[in-house]
Symmetry: C2
Subunit: 238 residues, 2 copies
DNA sequence: CGCCACGTTGAGAAGCCTCAATGCAGGTGG
DNA sequence: CCACCTGCATTGAGGCTTCTCAACGTGGCG
């Protein structure tokens, strides 16, 4: 394994990077990684930062190293709907299109590895494996989106909340392989409501309901512990 | 343009085929088309035919030549949600996965061009352009799915119906480039309800509402004519 | 003709939203 | 140090939308 012995071949910025494992960089050869890595820059942004604006051209892409990014769409009347969540080591940006038709907003403090759009598209053109990897992520996002369609279309408020907590438990901490019973919500009640197509008040009431049923416990509003995972699944209609 | 002069180089089955233009076959070179075309078979199925079952491995892919295919997901309690619609010249099947996690059902009489899964994956591996084309379709499906998320998450029953009719008007007839004012619904009221996350009765009432407002006219239950497209857009919240 | 599937219409119930009051914690200035 | 403000969360009351349940129409077909 030359590429591991000669670790100098790996850009400094890429060492200890999660995207090198599960992310899109995982399929790159050392020389390709070097080329992309030369242009890459680390960036840390606070919650609320708008990373991509719907319809506005962006000339960068990014890997998410930690944190949660929400994808939102805006209706002409001002209402907003969250259409997806991205976690490490997902990548951010819309390949092969000038601009995305969704906005991306940091939903927590987010660490990113940013690189120029042109480099990514060059790489996609040069490396079939790289484009394949991008394709795979798109397909996974499609599956996720359809899962959410199911939830938004068919479920009651309590089922939506339970499904949401289950999703978070399996994604929010990239270090935990399976399900994490401890969830620090990076969102306000309004944010959660937006994601689930509910109102803030309904979210609050349903959380209270889950707490009263001793399925979860809540501390300091944001810190949730799942006490009874089976009950939570039942509540989600699974 | 040798490939057009020597039309004998194009498989008989591929002549006059819509998928050769907008579809995935459009990026294939004549010799590649020949290889894929040799294995391809035309098939026509009636409405209701299950083309793909969620979780069941399938070893074929298909281009849709005409008709509408609905993608559905099933909840454990038996409720169903339509998570997508496919029109000609979309292709059908989940690349790079044994089985899809959605079911595909013919929503009208559907004509297909079916070919083996292995051939498609070979082609995707061999031809970067072909994989890129598949990727592009996946990205478009992702955009569509997110559009529906918006609709299901935020809109009232009448807005959902209006959005649905607008979608159909722009997709249902592949021969019409823009918006078709005449829509022959290939579905029952229950099917529409399923797609929109509503009940049959609500769909019926909202259609009656649009008819009374003289935005649409309805004949023989299935045949809808859009009388006032601007009013329909307003109703959809656009 | 009568059956059956699909569609329409109505009345009442349920769920969620809207509006409004209150609670609670963290930060700021007197 | 405390009073106040502000943003987020909770709780309650009432209303609106949609669902549920049920009756009735309608068109196609044996």
């Amino acid at each position: 394994m030359r590429k591991d012995i000669h670790s100098s071949a790996i850009p400094v910025i890429c060492r200890e990077c999660e995207a090198r494992h599960g992310g899109i960089c995982s399929v790159l050869e050392p020389d390709e990684l070097l080329r992309l890595g030369r242009q890459a820059r680390r960036r840390e942004v606070p919650a609320g930062t708008e990373l991509i604006s719907a319809g506005v051209p962006v000339d960068t892409f990014a890997n998410i190293l930690s944190g949660v990014v929400k994808l939102t769409k805006l209706l002409p009347d001002g209402r907003q709907q969250i259409v997806g969540l991205k976690f490490a080591p997902d990548f951010l940006g819309r390949p092969f299109a000038e601009a995305s038709n969704v906005s991306a907003v940091a939903a927590s403090t987010v660490r990113l590895c940013v690189f120029p759009r042109s480099d990514l598209e060059d790489m996609a053109q040069r490396s079939h494996a790289f484009e394949h990897r991008l394709h795979t992520q798109s397909l996974r996002e499609l599956d996720d989106a359809r899962e959410w369609l199911m939830i938004l279309g068919q479920k009651s408020a309590s089922q939506k909340l339970a499904s949401f907590l289950l999703l978070l438990g399996t994604h929010i901490d990239p270090r935990v392989a399976g399900f994490s019973n401890v969830i620090d919500l990076p969102w306000t009640r309004s944010d959660i409501a937006e994601f689930l197509g509910l109102t803030m008040e309904t979210v609050s009431r349903q959380l209270a309901h889950l707490r009263n049923a001793e399925v979860i416990s809540i501390e300091k509003n944001r810190h949730v512990t799942v006490l009874d995972q089976a009950a939570l699944r039942a509540e989600a209609g699974l």
